[in-house]
């Protein structure tokens, strides 16, 4: 389709030269004030490829499942699509923002929900709701999922691979320690007493592990019904502070600190997903908090290491259980692409959101399906009875109330806030800093970023 390339080249060149000259002129003149540097959000964008292009962060088995879906889409529609693996969510974000700035863009970028606000703030993405055809059953999406991705009343990006955090545990170790494997801990204090038993009985070195990632702190807050940021975690306006001055925060960090002090917790390191997983699979720790997307990996990993694995709801700080925040990513589409291309883009989005694709994706990865129809069809085919581990995250999601605390944080400086929370957690749980002192530092540092 040659007309897709029309005029793109000249548009791009002028945009770049505008960027360059405006920057130089500004510096030379030393003009103060706010200046729009780029070609503006109303301008058109040029695709990086003739065929549709998706930038994603799904490696390994999940990547293969994604590619299979791409092949199926090509076969069904005759539209070609390139799936480009870009290593990590962070890389996809960096490359996508760079692409938006240059005006040469992919058609889809799989953006981690944590970074959603940062992408929305560029003003250079088109709400996917406008790309879906009129007859598309938007109401069939699981409301707990789409509520996060709906901003200003419009579905901004297409939720695709979504998950929450659950607790995996080693049934074999529980049995050896004399614990009931059918009654796993459901609160932090139960996690502690189970850990003590497991370690005292000499079954494992430590009770529990999880990567030091902000997502887990978010889960402890949301399951307690506690907002992490003001303005409803950023969904009801611009947040200005981190809400750490409450019992949820204090109880959580006191517990974490106690677990570390008594060697009941393995610290795998900051954002060390792989390390945490291997500590669990090597049976150093009998419990692991991680994403539902690890279900398939847990099954094969446990088999390899000769133990029986199971999973349960995320352990809560207190007795109350409100619900998890969502995790995972969605597909964003840049604005300003040519109309004929937008039709193809819409077709792909609808394909990926179709019950069939969602069922296939769920079975291959453990991410839960985002369509009610897909859930119902899986249930009636007996999938969840045969594979109860796949059920947990979905139950956890669907039992969750419609509480603002269960909407994940939607803040511009998400990466900075994430780093502050993760970094400041370390001296608090090692005991180098007092809990109160650490929490107030966390709060003031995040406030500085939000200001």
């Amino acid at each position: 389709m040659p007309d897709r390339e029309r005029s793109g080249g000249s548009v791009r060149r002028s945009r770049r030269s505008v960027l360059r000259t405006s920057g130089a002129a500004l510096a030379a003149a030393g003009v103060a004030g706010c200046v729009g540097g780029g070609g503006g959000s109303g301008g058109s964008a040029e695709p990086v490829n003739d065929e549709l292009t998706l930038w994603h962060a799904m490696g390994g088995g999940n990547g293969e499942t994604l590619n299979a879906l791409g092949d199926q889409f090509e076969k069904e529609t005759g539209i070609s699509i390139t799936m480009q693996f870009q290593d990590s969510y962070e890389s996809v974000l960096t490359n996508f923002l760079g692409a938006l700035e240059s005006g040469e863009v992919p058609d889809f970028a799989q953006i981690d929900s944590l970074f959603a606000k940062q992408v929305l703030d560029t003003g250079r993405v088109e709400p996917v709701e406008e790309l879906l055809s009129d007859g598309f059953p938007v109401e069939d999406f699981l409301p707990n999922v789409t509520s996060f991705f709906t901003v200003d009343g419009t579905l901004q990006s297409l939720p695709f691979n979504n998950s929450n955090a659950i607790m995996y545990y080693n049934r074999t170790a529980f049995e050896e320690a004399g614990l009931d494997p059918d009654d796993p801990p459901s609160t932090l204090s139960e996690v502690r007493s189970a850990s003590e038993t497991l370690v005292d009985e000499g079954v494992v070195d430590a009770g529990i592990t999880w990567p030091n990632h902000v997502w887990f702190v978010e889960h402890w807050f949301s399951t307690a019904g506690q907002l992490l940021f003001d303005a409803e975690n950023g969904h009801a306006g611009e947040p200005s502070t981190l809400l750490t001055d409450n019992d949820t925060a204090r109880d959580l960090y006191e517990w974490w600190r106690g677990m570390a002090a008594d060697d009941l917790y393995v610290n795998p390191g900051i954002e060390a997903w792989g390390q945490a997983t291997s500590a669990f699979l090597q049976q150093e720790a009998a419990m692991l908090l991680t994403s539902t997307a690890f279900v398939a990996g847990a099954r094969s990993g446990a088999e390899e290491n000769g133990f029986e694995v199971d999973n349960a709801f995320y352990p809560t700080v207190g007795e109350e259980r409100v619900g998890p925040v969502i995790g995972g990513a969605s597909f964003f589409v840049p604005s300003g692409l040519p109309d004929d291309r937008r039709e193809d883009i819409g077709a792909f989005l609808e394909f990926m959101a179709s019950p069939d694709a969602q069922k296939q994706w769920h079975k291959g990865t453990g991410y839960y399906p985002i369509r009610q129809t897909a859930v119902d069809e899986l249930a009636s085919a007996g999938w969840f009875e045969e594979n109860p581990m796949f059920r947990t995250a979905l139950d956890q999601l669907q039992e969750s109330g419609d509480d603002p605390a269960t909407k994940r944080m939607l803040v511009g400086p998400a990466r900075q806030s994430q780093q502050i929370i993760q970094d400041t957690s370390v001296p608090v749980f090692t005991g180098d800093t007092g809990v109160e002192e650490g929490l107030s530092k966390m709060k003031s540092d995040v406030e500085n970023e939000l200001a």
């Binding site: 004030g33 780029g38 070609g39 700035e101 703030d121 291997s278 990466r415 400041t424």
Partner: protein
């Protein structure tokens, strides 16, 4: 001093210089100017918007206690690395110089770590000393140390320093050995006849003669400590725990390429440039006075 006419025409000289000058301009001077320019802006990534904020970014750095900690940390780290590398390498080079049998083998083994890419070295140490999985972790813990540099800042700092030193020893040994081999044998003999002990011979006879080399190495090692150690931090600690290994070069990388705060990151890079530039100036002045260039 009379000018020597090597080239027939100035154009010839200019043509030969052109590639170097061009590469320097394109990859060094122009980006440096651009970085300074960017440091005066608040840049929005993805939107192409840039707000001129004057010296605001520098003011942020002046008031940020995290940044002050990072500067202090980096200076401490640089001192530890330069002193560590040079004293250890001096002893190693001396031992190699003195040994009768297997000199070549020792020399090669000392230089070998230098041939390893920093990122690879980082991964090797990561797994050797991993708090839970490390091969060397248990043996070290026998000495009563609880190895947990994922949680302990001082341990992480010590580890990064040791790895940085280990990696740079080879480079120093190459230059020090070459320099030691140039020391006239008569001097060694005189020292021996005068009954000068080994250590005194190294410190009071050899080291002064080697001073131009040592001065050069001090400069190179300083640059290495400030800029060349990025990979270890990136692979092993990510600046943590709690900022304990967040040296300036990593800090500004994180600001620029993870947080997309290009303005602040540019200001940081300008400050880093000034710090290292200032240090170089001091080092050159000091060594000019004290280094022995013969005659």
């Amino acid at each position: 001093m009379a000018t020597r006419e090597v080239f027939e025409s100035r154009w010839q000289a200019a043509a030969l210089l052109l590639p170097t000058v061009l590469v320097s301009i394109v990859f060094l001077y122009a980006p440096a100017v651009r970085a300074f320019e960017l440091s005066l802006f608040e840049v929005g990534f993805g939107t192409g918007e840039a707000d001129f904020v004057g010296l605001e970014n520098y003011r942020t750095l002046l008031t940020s206690s995290e940044y002050h900690l990072s500067v202090l940390l980096t200076v401490l780290f640089a001192v530890a690395v330069v002193v560590g590398v040079m004293s250890f390498s001096l002893v190693v080079s001396f031992l190699i110089h003195e040994v009768e049998v297997g000199k070549g083998l020792y020399l090669v083994s000392a230089i070998w770590p230098y041939a390893l890419p920093p990122a690879v070295a980082g991964f090797v140490f990561f797994f050797l000393l991993h708090p839970d999985l490390g091969v060397l972790t248990r043996p070290i813990e026998r000495f009563g140390v609880d190895v947990d540099w994922f949680s302990s800042g001082p341990q992480a700092f010590a580890l990064i320093t040791v790895v940085a030193v280990w990696k740079q020893v080879g480079y120093n040994v190459i230059f020090m050995s070459a320099s030691m081999n140039n020391i006239p044998g008569s001097l060694t003999e005189t020292a021996r006849l005068d009954g000068v002990g080994r250590l005194r011979r190294l410190l009071w006879v050899y080291a002064p003669i080697m001073s131009p080399t040592l001065a050069f190495l001090a400069v190179m090692n300083t640059i290495y400590a400030f800029f060349g150690t990025f990979a270890f931090i990136d692979v092993m600690t990510q600046g943590g725990p709690a900022g304990a290994t967040n040296i300036l070069i990593f800090d500004l990388y994180r600001d620029a390429l993870q947080n997309f705060e290009f303005g602040v990151a540019s200001a940081k890079s300008v400050v880093l440039f000034l710090i290292v530039g200032g240090l170089m100036y001091v080092q050159f002045r000091v060594t000019e006075k004290h280094a022995y260039y013969g005659g």
